[in-house]
């Protein structure tokens, strides 16, 4: 394993600790999807993206990221804090009164790193397409990234956007879908099957890659490959297979930890599995 991968994995461990502690601290929030996407966020913000933690909302001349499935805000907030957008001590305010770290991300409280509110699902891909088009109008050659959940694909707006981007050659956009196969009411296959997503997105005209989302080496490689495919007339999609709750054994393999906070005992059991690598907030 290269030193770089080891370093990224170390950061992801701390992000996972932050997630569990934040959700425990307010006894609410969404640990499952957040844990599953910790590797992706760390790979994006500490390896892939050219971005400036001295935040400017317009993001001109830098890569920008949108989170469409806003309920996994704990992983977003922890990553932003660890990347220097704001002090990590603020993570303790998550979901509490007068906090900038609202339950779902918002620009309303002016938290650095957030460029649009999300939470009501299905809207992020459209916003990312708009930002991609603004970058082209501004002759800005940096990229736009967006993450969606898999359950979120049941929203119709996603498919409006899916149709628009290839037709208009929005090729400065890398979208990722977190395929953990779970949603609130159970496995997506049981709630409303998504079918063959690779075939679907390819049929819509996207350049589709697949990756294991909890394998840092493969994830960084796939992200690099995705970047190399931009600027070629097609939007790029990464189907990212993750495990909900990854890193905490009793939170894995089920939808039950989608939106439930651990109690004191469960927190202790989780933290034993997650090494403190960068210092807790």
């Amino acid at each position: 394993m290269s030193a770089d991968i080891a370093k990224l994995e170390n950061i992801a461990k701390q992000v996972r600790r932050d997630i569990v502690r934040m959700v425990h601290g307010c006894q609410s929030g969404h640990p499952g999807g957040s844990l599953g996407c910790a590797d992706f966020f760390v790979a994006l913000y500490f390896h892939q993206m050219e971005h400036n933690p001295k935040f400017n909302l317009d993001g001109i001349g830098e890569d920008i990221f949108f989170l469409s499935n806003g309920h996994i805000s704990p992983v977003f907030y922890s990553t932003l804090a660890r990347a220097g957008y704001f002090d990590k001590s603020e993570l303790a305010t998550f979901r509490k009164i007068d906090s900038r770290l609202q339950g779902h991300p918002t620009t309303h409280e002016h938290l650095p790193g957030i460029r649009v509110a999300s939470g009501s699902l299905g809207q992020g891909l459209s916003v990312a397409i708009g930002a991609s088009r603004a970058k082209k109008l501004n002759n800005d050659d940096k990229l736009v990234y967006v993450l969606m959940g898999d359950g979120e694909l049941q929203e119709g707006q996603v498919w409006e956007a899916a149709m628009y981007a290839p037709h208009n050659k929005v090729d400065n956009l890398i979208a990722t879908i977190d395929l953990n196969g779970q949603q609130i009411d159970g496995p997506t296959e049981r709630v409303l099957s998504l079918g063959n997503l690779k075939a679907k997105w390819e049929a819509f005209g996207w350049d589709v890659l697949e990756a294991k989302g909890n394998d840092m080496a493969q994830l960084t490689e796939t992200l690099a490959e995705a970047k190399s495919r931009t600027g070629k007339g097609k939007p790029v999609m990464i189907l990212m297979h993750t495990e909900m709750g990854y890193g905490v054994d009793f939170m894995m393999g089920s939808h039950k930890w989608h939106g439930v906070a651990p109690n004191d005992e469960q927190l202790a059991a989780a933290l034993v599995q997650l090494e403190e690598t960068l210092g807790d907030y």
């Binding site: 309303h108 509110a117 916003v127 708009g130």
Partner: protein, 317 residues
């Protein structure tokens, strides 16, 4: 009664089209989006001169609102164009989260509002849009009254940093406002000073209010007529000053009486100076097919309705 005349009639949506083209020339950050209604929204001139700044979205209004929100990130000023029904009710959550709550500088431009859409019927005749939009925190709501005012408003909103709902319509109506007017968001226009009753009108009902004022004058009633083109933020000072003088008010709008201009005025009066008020508005119903004039008569939204309402409210003083 001050005399208002006109030499030409045009639709307010053409005022939007002309304003969009002019603001596009003035400001290179202005971009336009449309959901398959370019002709209806009169966007052709903008598209011809600024093709790289126009985005045809197709019949996908939710996606259009999201793309508009995204275009602001990087400094663009997006104007979205579709019918009022598809600009509001169909995409309320997209506007609420991605535009209003996110504080995005999107101009939601909505044609074919209200009953005067005519023959297409109730599926397209939204009468709830002002209410929907004014309830969103931070949203500015504008409903201009003729071609010139719509054109001026379309140009002016580019200078306002924040989301705007601009409502206009399909029918050809008299052009009676100044072609060189300076449009000031949130500032009422005193159409006629009077002392017996205040008539507060918006959109297509302003011309009807002027006709009503002339008829009332022949009956010896001196009506003060105010054009509220900006329903939010509301010019409370102008309303209170007028009602302090006249002691009663008629509000007139092409909208459901629930949640429109009338309710906004009533709230101001209840808090500051309770006074009798009559509503000229649609009485909590959907519309139907018919010509604009037939519909405005059937649903009580014309000069005759304003005259009756004024006579009634004066008796309640």
């Amino acid at each position: 009664m001050k005399k208002y005349t006109y030499t030409d009639k045009k639709d307010t949506r053409s005022g939007f089209g002309a304003g969009l083209h002019e603001v596009g020339q003035k400001n290179s950050d202005v971009v336009a989006l449309c959901a398959d209604l370019v002709g209806s929204l009169k966007m052709d001139a903008f598209i011809k001169d600024f093709p790289e700044r126009f985005f045809q979205i197709g019949i996908a209004e939710a996606n259009m609102m999201g793309i508009a929100a995204g275009l602001t990130i990087g400094g663009k000023i997006p104007y979205t164009g579709t019918f009022a029904n598809f600009s509001t009710g169909r995409v309320y959550d997209q506007i609420r989260q991605s535009i209003a709550y996110s504080g995005k500088n999107v101009k939601i431009c909505a044609s074919h509002a209200g009953l005067t859409l005519g023959e297409d019927g109730a599926t397209h005749q939204i009468l709830e849009d002002i209410g929907l939009m004014k309830m969103l925190p931070g949203m500015t709501v504008i409903n201009p009254c003729d071609y010139n005012q719509t054109k001026a408003a379309t140009i002016a909103i580019a200078e306002h940093d924040g989301p705007v709902y601009l409502r206009f319509g399909r029918p050809v109506v008299p052009i009676f406002t100044d072609p060189n007017q300076k449009f000031e968001i949130g500032k009422a226009w005193m159409v006629n000073e009077g002392s017996d009753v205040t008539i507060i009108a918006t959109g297509h009902l302003v011309w009807e209010a002027i006709q009503a004022g002339e008829q009332l004058a022949t009956l010896g009633i001196d009506a003060e007529i105010i054009n509220i083109h900006t329903i939010k933020p509301l010019d409370e000072e102008a309303i209170l000053k007028s009602v302090a003088k006249t002691g009663c008010v008629v509000t007139a709008e092409e909208h459901n009486r629930l949640g429109g201009l009338g309710d906004s005025v009533a709230q101001v009066l209840v808090k500051n100076n309770p006074a009798p008020q009559e509503y000229v508005a649609v009485n909590d119903s959907f519309g139907e097919s018919g010509t604009p004039a037939q519909l405005m008569e059937k649903y009580g939204l014309n000069a005759a309705s304003i005259v009756s309402a004024a006579q009634k409210v004066i008796k309640r003083k």
